[in-house]
């Protein structure tokens, strides 16, 4: 309505050159392979290991299985099967590596296994894995790892979901739980942005560090805001990129910005902060580290955005502040990272709720608040 406060004039910028393709991937345009329409707003999405199926979850407690097999013209019809099994929302989706089982964990604390790709899937096994919400699930061999709002991590064994091990891991809600790519460790992250690394065999705590930028206690509202809303391992497995919301000035109106923080989980060192060039108000809901050397980040808030950053970042470090400046808090004493800007940005039609990448890196899916999932082909 009114103009922004005047800023000193700057010389007009030349239009940015089109981004160069990375290892054969041209991200300047997003090629849509399928638009999958569901009635209820979507919450999460994951490709099956063979990328034949896309699983989404929705606000009406249902789960959708979309068939991504192309027809004879090469088009994806996206035949949908609705699945009912949870008494609440589900945001945690995983699979057995052999494409046999779909594993879901819900806000009702239930862990379910379903046969994947059948015409009328029904839950095969069901256990009450946690009290309260489960937000993190991962599967490795026959082990199913979950993390819940009860602060516990639990392992159940396929195929019957027999309890194997469970322990109190965090003092607040767990937002992520994953096996490390080499399978030797378990990583978990919570509402306060703390990441813990556990020995897979012994269950001993190996390391703990904080992605502090992704959490804040909003004293005005008397509540914590933040958490690792999505994460993804680097191709070499040693780093992990975490996303969520940062710079929160008003938690209850969601005034803050998405941020993508890269950490070396084997040392606990924060390597880089990936930040959109143009400020976007919202939360990072999806992040995928592509093996071709780039990181995709998606966010929802006032609409949706998708950004891509190169992962060959050499991290510039901000010069130390002048010595005379009083040190106000511990965080400021840490090394200040100069944020790294994306090389490509796409405005999306709607608020992003989740994003996933197929195992071969060729397909990208984004789930939207409006009840639509879009599948894109990366080339």
């Amino acid at each position: 309505m009114t103009q922004e406060k005047p800023k000193p004039k700057e010389a007009p910028k030349p239009p940015p050159p089109p981004p160069e393709p990375i290892a054969g991937y041209n991200l300047a345009t997003l090629k849509q392979a399928a638009e999958l329409k569901n009635g209820s707003p979507l919450l999460a999405c994951r490709f099956s290991p063979d990328a034949r199926w896309l699983i989404t979850t929705a606000q009406d407690n249902t789960i959708q299985q979309w068939d991504l097999a192309p027809d004879k013209d090469g088009k994806i019809a996206g035949k949908k099967v609705d699945m009912a099994g949870h008494a609440s929302w589900t945001r945690a989706i995983s699979f057995s590596a052999d494409n046999k089982w779909l594993i879901t964990a819900g806000y009702d604390g239930l862990l379910l296994t379903w046969p994947l790709g059948v015409a009328h899937p029904e839950p095969v096994r069901q256990v009450q894995a946690h009290t309260g919400w489960i937000r993190g699930v991962d599967c490795q061999a026959n082990q199913v790892l979950t993390g819940g709002n009860d602060g516990r991590l639990a392992i159940h064994l396929l195929p019957d979901l027999r309890p194997s091990r469970a322990w109190q891991a965090h003092d607040c809600h767990i937002y992520q739980a994953s096996f490390s790519p080499d399978g030797k460790f378990i990583l978990s992250a919570d509402l306060k942005g703390r990441v813990k690394v556990w020995d897979q065999q012994s269950g001993a705590l190996v390391r703990e560090f904080a992605v502090a930028a992704l959490h804040k206690y909003d004293a005005g509202f008397g509540a914590d805001i933040g958490g690792v809303r999505a994460w993804s391992f680097s191709p070499d497995g040693s780093s992990i990129v975490c996303t969520g919301i940062t710079n929160v000035s008003n938690a209850f109106a969601g005034v803050g910005n998405p941020l993508y923080v890269v950490a070396n989980w084997t040392t606990g060192e924060i390597r880089a902060e990936l930040k959109p060039k143009e400020a976007f108000q919202g939360t990072g809901w999806g992040v995928c580290w592509h093996r071709a050397g780039f990181i995709l980040g998606a966010a929802g808030g006032n609409g949706g955005m998708l950004w891509a950053w190169r992962d060959d970042f050499k991290v510039p470090v901000k010069p130390e502040p002048a010595k005379t400046e009083p040190k106000k808090d511990a965080r400021k004493e840490e090394k200040k990272l100069e944020p790294i800007a994306e090389f490509v940005a796409h405005k999306l039609a709607d608020n992003v709720r989740d994003m996933c990448l197929s195992a071969n890196g060729k397909k990208l899916a984004i789930a939207y608040q409006g009840g639509i999932a879009r599948v894109h082909t990366l080339a």
């Binding site: 309505m1 009114t2 103009q3 005047p6 800023k7 004039k9």
Partner: protein, 572 residues
């Protein structure tokens, strides 16, 4: 609005005869028997409270205050309370002109003064006193900065600037102009830029506060649409003011290492109403409410800047919209009218238009001719605030007594028929505690020959600060009286007040302990605390205290009790 400004002399004459004709008897006992209507008292006025009858409005002269009130409120001749007594007047005018109560010595001297012009002479004396500029710089600071913390400009330098301006007799219009044009680059004029700089050049805040504090019209609700309830607060008014500031930006001066103001030569204000379904965008050139739009002069592209903005270069346009605002704001009568209303509210406890930032057609002044008179007085005196204060303090309305008179209506205070019982401002209360206990006199005594205002005032201000902090409004809000529990707890229990009670050379307790005669001690105490003589009951109470074994404790408790009483907290 101006319909009462110029009147047939005959009407004025009758009205004034009525005002002056009612019993003005400064030395009279407290309770004056009500004077029957239409039958002026025979006693000749002892003190010349107001002289309007002798000087009826000449062409070009503003109507005198009391004459104006008589037009607005014809019952004033029959229903107004008698004038207040000398000591009530003394206390009132001391608080209003120098920010604290008179000392006992000053009170006794005034009681002894038999000159019929003693009140107006006192007013002149107080206005000439350096204390006046010290105190009124606090008032203007509280009005205009509303206790915002200092961010870019030293608050002391700002106060010095206000004080020097007042002492030099700088017109308030000039002061306002300087506040809007100073860019902070010159250390000499940088303090004037505090109004804008310490609002961090938040343009919406600056525009809101210019409209509230300088125009008396809170246009905040007109930012996004025409005001829903006030017909003459338009969205275009808001954006007209915004356009003056739109191009100004904060600039980090590389040499000064401070924030200063810079300005661009482009940038237009456009706005839509949130109520407009078609979302039509309108452009707005600068302009004050009710004034013409002020389009930019046409300049060649290479003529736009004295120095064009760049990195490390402060933008200075040839045509500065912000400087234009300083001119436009002070050109009409709106600034004078707002200031006149605020001065009246400061001295009488309520604005002629009230609330002070709601000057508009649906909220007419309670006394239109009075507001015109005050406005014209200020304009004719070229915004000399002392001229306005002098006229107000000399008026019968200001010197009205607080004793009710038979037949007065319920809203007699609002109708200016009786003195309003008004709370001390945070500054006045802070000073009052230090004056009443004799702390200020003790400080002066300790300083001896060095007791200049420059030496005494900083000490008074530092000692008053804790009181002011507990009484003042939150930053960014105007002060208003609130009786709050923590204020009572502070005054009752905190050590800050208690420390001023024990005897100290030159202070009240020292004098009380030295006085053997209970009647004299009681008068000393009541003159110091309430600026009045003690009553018979109060003398008995004092006698009892002096008989206590621990006389000092008893006197301290009595002194504290009076400081905690309503009579101390309010101006009668």
């Amino acid at each position: 609005m101006m319909k009462h400004a110029w009147l047939p002399l005959s009407i004025v004459g009758i009205a004034l005869w009525a005002v002056v004709g009612s019993s003005i008897h400064a030395d009279a006992p407290k309770i004056v028997p009500p004077v029957a209507k239409d039958q002026p008292a025979k006693t000749a006025p002892v003190v010349a409270v107001a002289k309007p009858a002798a000087v009826p409005a000449k062409s070009g002269q503003p109507l005198a205050i009391d004459a104006a009130i008589a037009l607005d409120e014809p019952t004033v001749s029959s229903l107004a309370s008698s004038p207040c007594d000398d000591l009530t007047f003394l206390r009132r005018v001391h608080f209003d002109l120098v920010g604290g109560p008179p000392t006992v010595a000053e009170a006794r001297a005034f009681l002894a003064d038999k000159d019929s012009a003693r009140r107006s002479r006192l007013i002149d004396r107080l206005l000439a006193n350096p204390d006046h500029s010290w105190y009124w710089s606090q008032v203007l600071d509280a009005w205009w900065m509303e206790r915002r913390p200092a961010k870019h400009v030293d608050a002391k330098l700002w106060r010095d600037y206000l004080r020097d301006s007042l002492a030099q007799g700088k017109g308030l219009d000039t002061l306002v102009k300087e506040m809007l044009t100073a860019d902070g680059t010159d250390e000499k004029t940088r303090p004037a830029a505090r109004f804008v700089l310490d609002r961090e050049l938040d343009t919406h805040l600056v525009v809101r506060d210019i409209s509230r504090l300088f125009l008396g019209a809170n246009l905040q609700c007109a930012q996004c649409h025409d005001h829903p309830r006030i017909d003459n607060y338009k969205q275009a008014h808001y954006h007209g003011l915004l356009a003056y500031f739109q191009r100004t930006y904060l600039f980090d001066d590389p040499k000064l290492k401070k924030k200063v103001l810079a300005e661009k030569a482009d940038g237009e204000v456009e706005f839509q109403s949130v109520f407009d379904p078609k979302k039509i965008t309108r452009k707005r050139a600068p302009g004050v409410p009710g004034g013409p739009e002020r389009p930019d002069p046409v300049l060649a592209k290479d003529q736009l800047y004295i120095s064009a903005p760049a990195k490390e270069v402060r933008g200075v346009p040839r045509h500065s919209r912000r400087s234009l605002l300083a001119n436009d704001l002070t050109a009409g009568k709106a600034l004078a009218r707002n200031l006149a209303n605020r001065f009246w509210a400061q001295l009488l406890g309520k604005g002629v238009v009230h609330p002070l930032d709601q000057i508009h057609e649906d909220n007419p002044p309670s006394h239109p001719a009075l507001l015109d008179s005050l406005t014209e007085t200020l304009l004719q005196a070229r915004y000399d605030h002392k001229a306005l204060l002098r006229v107000i303090c000399n008026s019968a309305a200001y010197q009205r007594g607080g004793e009710a008179r038979a037949g007065q209506p319920k809203n007699a205070e609002d109708r200016l028929l009786i003195a309003r019982l008004r709370p001390l401002s945070p500054e006045q209360m802070g000073h009052a505690l230090l004056f009443a206990t004799g702390q200020v006199e003790a400080e002066r005594k300790a300083l001896g020959a060095k007791a200049t205002p420059e030496a005494v005032w900083p000490r008074v201000e530092a000692q008053a600060a804790p009181f002011i902090a507990v009484l003042a409004a939150q930053p960014g809000n105007p002060d208003q009286f609130e009786a709050r529990l923590e204020q009572a707890l502070f005054l009752a229990n905190h050590g800050h007040l208690q420390q001023f009670l024990p005897p100290r050379p030159g202070n009240l307790m020292e004098r009380l302990l030295a006085e053997k005669d209970p009647a004299k001690a009681a008068d000393e105490l009541y003159l110091a605390v309430f600026t009045r003589l003690s009553s018979a009951d109060e003398k008995v109470e004092m006698a009892r205290a002096l008989q206590e074994k621990d006389k000092q404790t008893a006197l301290r408790d009595l002194l504290w009790a009076l400081l905690g009483s309503a009579e101390f907290r309010f101006i009668g």
